[in-house]
Point group: C2
């Protein structure tokens, strides 16, 4: 597929700066996986004349137009009307969508107004993407002169899944191919060294393709294969995923995992083991991340946030002598915090963090210095981390939490815990 | 100023979806404060021909072009060359920038290469925005036919402050006016009722202008005045800020405050009072938010995360009988958690949260039901909150944490705590 695409995001709220255009980023990422060139993206407000001009411009310079936004039921949602007009399509009532809307609203005890029915007026002969996450369906169609159009709703909670689950497969199917994308998630190895290590191999690959991405505190590899069927495409990813995983080693925490914390919860649940936390500089962030996973109660008991020295003693039994001799930010304090949390909660594993989040430095210890301890049956390891000042307090805390979660994973799996 | 602006973000990494275009959002917000109309924003890659076409298009439909990105020292940073060409400006060496770069690099022990000097080649006769956050200066100039151009670096850590501190004042100064913007922050009142309440008053205002914005879990009003001097503009905001605050009442938690948590830390520090937390469904989020504020150690002692029933008893002394009779998600458990946290830490105030974050429901209690208790000297209040399913688990937790922080503020200030 050597076609070119253009993204047009529609919504005055984007031009007012009320919201960030995350839709464009997610769609861009997907186009790049599909090997579709993207030369321009733009944003326009809810103004029919300017939308029309933007659509005409996109039509003149790209094969595929993807719009986001303006599919709602209110008077300023005019994407379908305007875009369909530009491509010479009329809108017709889509009965299945009418029924879906009626069910959706009656379940909530709401009667549909005339406005709501406008959401069921769709371009004639289009492919309808059922919206499982909201009310406005997405649509796609091809024109006689070889152009294609996709329209997706604006709210990211609807746009993201509809892009990945409906629009991307529709695009892939146009080339008689099914597309399967796998994600290898990596923690504890930067994007630059990962890329340097894999570039000679991945830059020659065409199907599957392998693309590295950096995320905050971690990175990922996306392996994407095209084939006649989903099963075939999936099968094609398998050896590549296996090869990449074996090259990367134990920094891979999961394939197609949702997040590090989700993977930690899953692994501990599989082994029936429990976790406790003892947090100083992160102030509750590790607990917050673990409990952001639905069902975290299967493995997470709780723990203590002890921001002051006194609380380290009162809540976790850290010895006053340890604090006086080594300081709150020390290997020894971290170890006693982990031990204390484990004893007081009865958890199988406890992780403890104490450090200098900054911006000010304390006890003549530099910002970004964090000690992270893990205690478990026969395990007691403290890792000294220096996260540096760049990125500020927030980045230090977030990197510390990520490292703590990774150390829990490593402790459970019996992997090397020291750097 | 009834001019129209257009934002052009330049960088292939944006089209690949590697990064989100936060620059455009921040600039859009500022333009709207300045009363400058923004009709289009677009993104183009590091391609000279496509940049040229995009610049010509913007020039044809807007008075002011703002570009971001492409000011770095490498071969694909071609914004200045291309844009200057379109506007008929030649690039000349800016000696002050040369000296700044030499100082910047020599401090880091790096010798400048020819590439680096290219960053000092700037459009003839332009205004130079010194970059205190990186190396590439920003520039601005006016053309004979009444058009204006601003070029800013792409990295948000450079673009955001240069936009607010250099480019926005430059734009304001073009109308012989200084601009002062104040922020009234509101919690516990939705954007829709706030807007309904204030619209008749604010929609007639021209200087200062008052604009409402919705943020997650809270909202804000931005009051912006233009005058000949900063002092005068600030003075003009004063009666409007006072009027808005008195209309809104105690849902205003701060004027020009950074965040609710920062305001809570500030208020407690002023009164020399301390805080403890006891979290179940939020798993540490309240502690995390308090400790995200630099210097939170002045007021925050710590607390317990007790995700399981047993931990509520072990760590906070909640009676087993209470849990058995009323359940973990109950008014009674929340109250005992707060009391326990206060006793065990010795804090002046403790806040406790227990609820159903979802997605699954427990004890036949609905998702979104959260009990939040505050305990203090002579104070013990439990609020029953129903945050609803929309927005999911994350939104329930985040709204619960915001309400908990607001209840701490209200308890300290002796404001009404019940809804």
């Amino acid at each position: 597929m050597s076609i070119t695409a253009e993204i047009l995001s529609i919504g005055t709220e984007l031009l007012l700066g009320d919201i960030i255009n995350t839709d464009a980023q997610v769609i861009s990422e997907g186009l790049s996986e599909l090997g579709i060139n993207l030369y321009y993206t733009s944003v326009v407000g809810d103004n029919p004349e300017r939308i029309r001009r933007s659509v005409e411009l996109a039509k003149s310079r790209a094969d595929l137009l993807i719009t986001t936004g303006g599919l709602g039921p209110t008077y300023d949602d005019i994407t379908k009307e305007t875009v369909s007009q530009c491509y010479g399509r009329r809108l017709v009532r889509h009965e299945e969508t009418v029924r879906r809307l009626e069910t959706y609203f009656s379940r909530r005890g709401i009667t549909l107004t005339e406005n709501n029915y406008s959401q069921a007026m769709l371009p004639e002969g289009c492919t309808v993407f059922t919206n499982e996450w909201g009310t406005a369906p997405g649509v796609a169609f091809d024109t006689e002169d070889g152009k294609s159009v996709i329209m997706l709703p604006g709210p990211p909670s609807e746009c993201f899944p509809m892009w990945r689950e409906c629009a991307m497969p529709w695009l892939a199917s146009k080339s008689d191919a099914c597309l399967v994308s796998r994600t290898i998630r990596v923690v504890g190895l930067g994007e630059a060294p990962m890329e340097a290590m894999l570039r000679p191999i991945i830059e020659k690959m065409t199907n599957p393709t392998v693309a590295p991405y950096a995320k905050v505190g971690e990175c990922l590899l996306r392996v994407t294969a095209k084939a006649a069927t989903k099963e075939e495409a999936f099968a094609m990813t398998e050896p590549v995923v296996a090869d990449m995983c074996s090259r990367l080693g134990d920094v891979v925490y999961g394939v197609d995992a949702e997040s590090l914390e989700a993977r930690v919860v899953e692994l501990f649940a599989e082994q029936g083991k429990t976790i406790a936390t003892a947090e100083s500089c992160t102030g509750g962030l590790v607990g917050e991340r673990i409990t952001s996973v639905p069902g975290a109660s299967r493995v997470y008991l709780g723990g203590a946030v002890c921001y002051s020295n006194e609380m380290k003693t009162r809540l976790l039994g850290v010895k006053e002598e340890t604090l006086a001799r080594f300081g709150a930010v020390s290997r020894e304090t971290a170890a006693e915090m982990a031990r204390g949390a484990r004893e007081r909660t009865g958890a199988d594993f406890a992780v403890a963090l104490t450090g200098v989040a900054g911006p000010s430095e304390s006890e003549s210890k530099p910002m970004g210095l964090v000690y992270i301890a893990v205690a478990g049956d026969g395990i007691e390891v403290v890792r000294e981390c220096t996260f540096g000042r760049a990125g500020g307090r927030e980045r230090v805390r977030s990197n510390a939490a990520t490292t703590a979660l990774d150390m829990l994973r490593r402790a459970l799996l019996g992997l090397k815990l020291e750097k």
